[in-house]
């Protein structure tokens, strides 16, 4: 097998790739980390309404320093702006939107995704008593589409797209699509179906970095 040269997508590149696929008119929640960057890559003329679980619909971009409003933060605790038409509501109402399947899409970060759509993104060990669930379990169960953005492998080169997750689950069978630094994959009945690979990387090379079997 010949080694090709290829350049994995960085954080912003992965966010931009996912943003390409969000249709106008969707209600979308963006998780903490790379998913938050997705909003920056949706073209201004495409009207997508962003939900933040701390009680905002119509989240706008980060404001200029002198226009910051300390009372207006997103779920990542970053100061944001409000789009005209935006609204505020309490947490019960906010999670009614999430759990009542009113959101078209949530984009989450991930540690691991399994070929059956299981997601692990809140803890790396089964030690109970601490952990960072936040809104992830509600979003993973409640949104109509669940996309995960993550590096294709760990820093140590271990696979993140697995037959079965080894970390504690966020929700079973919830992920519909994965955007990694190397590829875009749908989660289908038969497992991961590769939709897109970055230039210079072959299907076989992608498979070598993936534990689960990939389908064309």
């Amino acid at each position: 097998m010949t080694e090709h040269t290829y350049k994995p997508l960085g954080r912003s590149g992965m966010a931009a790739r996912a943003a390409q696929d969000i249709p106008g008119g969707w209600y979308v929640n963006l998780g903490i980390g790379i998913p938050t960057l997705v909003a920056d890559h949706v073209p201004a003329e495409r009207e997508v309404i962003f939900h933040s679980e701390n009680g905002i619909l119509g989240v706008g971009p980060a404001p200029a320093k002198h226009k910051e409003n300390p009372w207006l933060i997103n779920a990542s605790s970053q100061r944001v702006s409000l789009h005209p038409g935006g609204s505020f509501f309490d947490h019960a109402m906010s999670f009614a939107m999430v759990r009542g399947q009113h959101l078209d899409l949530c984009v989450l970060g991930g540690f691991q995704v399994a070929e059956n759509g299981d997601l692990a993104n809140w803890a790396q060990s089964a030690e109970s008593g601490t952990g960072q669930i936040g809104g992830a379990m509600d979003l993973a169960v409640g949104a109509k589409q669940v996309w995960v953005i993550m590096e294709h492998t760990t820093k140590g080169g271990e696979a993140r797209l697995l037959k079965r997750c080894t970390y504690p689950l966020t929700a079973p069978r919830c992920v519909t699509r994965v955007y990694t630094s190397l590829a875009v994959l749908d989660v289908a009945e038969r497992g991961f179906v590769v939709r897109d690979i970055i230039p210079g990387l072959s299907f076989e090379e992608l498979q070598a970095k993936t534990e689960a079997k990939l389908h064309r």
């Binding site: 933040s52 679980e53 701390n54 009680g55 905002i56 409003n69 300390p70 009372w71 207006l72 933060i73 779920a75 605790s77 970053q78 100061r79 409000l82 505020f88 509501f89 309490d90 947490h91 019960a92 906010s94 999670f95 999430v98 759990r99 803890a123 089964a126 109970s128 008593g129 601490t130 952990g131 960072q132 669930i133 936040g134 809104g135 992830a136 379990m137 509600d138 169960v141 409640g142 504690p168 689950l169 966020t170 929700a171 079973p172």
Partner: protein
């Protein structure tokens, strides 16, 4: 005349017992009733069960913990129910060393359990958490083709709330994203105590705009606390 305004922090905190379950609103620093938490520290109640979205900050060398982080660091909390307890935080430390019980739950489940408590619903089924560690020890059954787990209402002996403006009936409005957990915490507390930035005469809050009606509120303390701090 109904007057829910109290004139001092001591009056606001009066009667809170050791062993109480205390619901605390806020998301980050926004909408957090920090003055009331300091008041609770001063008041002295201990052996508390604290219910709060996030378990507080990490230990930072040379920085005195404040607010919730201080209450926890002082060892006054025996159990914390939260959506987010970082392993490196002071709360995480106490959980790891067995000095405090930590229970991490989904955020929507937290909000709904408090809403249920306020609405007289003892328990409900939800698919959130089914098939995960959150489901351990909980009854489950299938609805509409999905596994759901039984979650119980989460009432508080005390609820701590931050409002933007309040009147003497305890009607509340909130500013921007500071609304967050405040209305649900207010309805789930047996004794709901509010700190408010502004006060107004009865009738000045437009009836169409009142978010939390005063029926859910017991005491209101005027605390012009200033802007929430950014997350460092």
């Amino acid at each position: 005349m109904i007057d829910k305004f109290v004139r001092s922090m001591a009056e606001a905190m009066d009667g809170i017992k050791d062993g109480s379950t205390v619901l605390i609103a806020g998301f980050g620093d926004v909408g957090a009733p920090n003055a009331l938490i300091e008041g609770l520290i001063e008041q002295g109640a201990t052996n508390l069960t604290v219910v709060v979205n996030s378990g507080g900050r990490n230990r930072v060398a040379g920085v005195e913990p404040s607010g919730l982080t201080k209450l926890v660091a002082l060892g006054r909390v025996k159990k914390m129910i939260s959506t987010f307890i970082r392993a490196q935080s002071i709360a995480g430390e106490l959980v790891r060393t067995g000095k405090m019980e930590g229970v991490v739950i989904p955020q929507g489940t937290l909000a709904e359990r408090m809403r249920a408590a306020g609405a007289g619903i003892p328990a409900f089924y939800t698919p959130t958490g089914a098939g995960t560690m959150v489901a351990e020890g909980k009854e489950s059954r299938w609805y509409q083709g999905r596994e759901c787990i039984l979650e119980e209402a989460l009432p508080g002996d005390v609820a701590l709330v931050e409002a933007w403006t309040a009147d003497r009936w305890g009607n509340l409005v909130f500013r921007d994203a500071s609304r967050n957990f405040n209305p649900v915490v207010a309805m789930a507390g047996a004794l709901t105590i509010v700190q408010t930035h502004h006060v107004c005469d009865l009738g000045q809050l437009p009836a169409n705009e009142i978010v939390t009606p005063g029926i859910f509120v017991n005491r209101v303390l005027h605390v012009p606390a200033g802007d929430p701090k950014p997350v460092v």
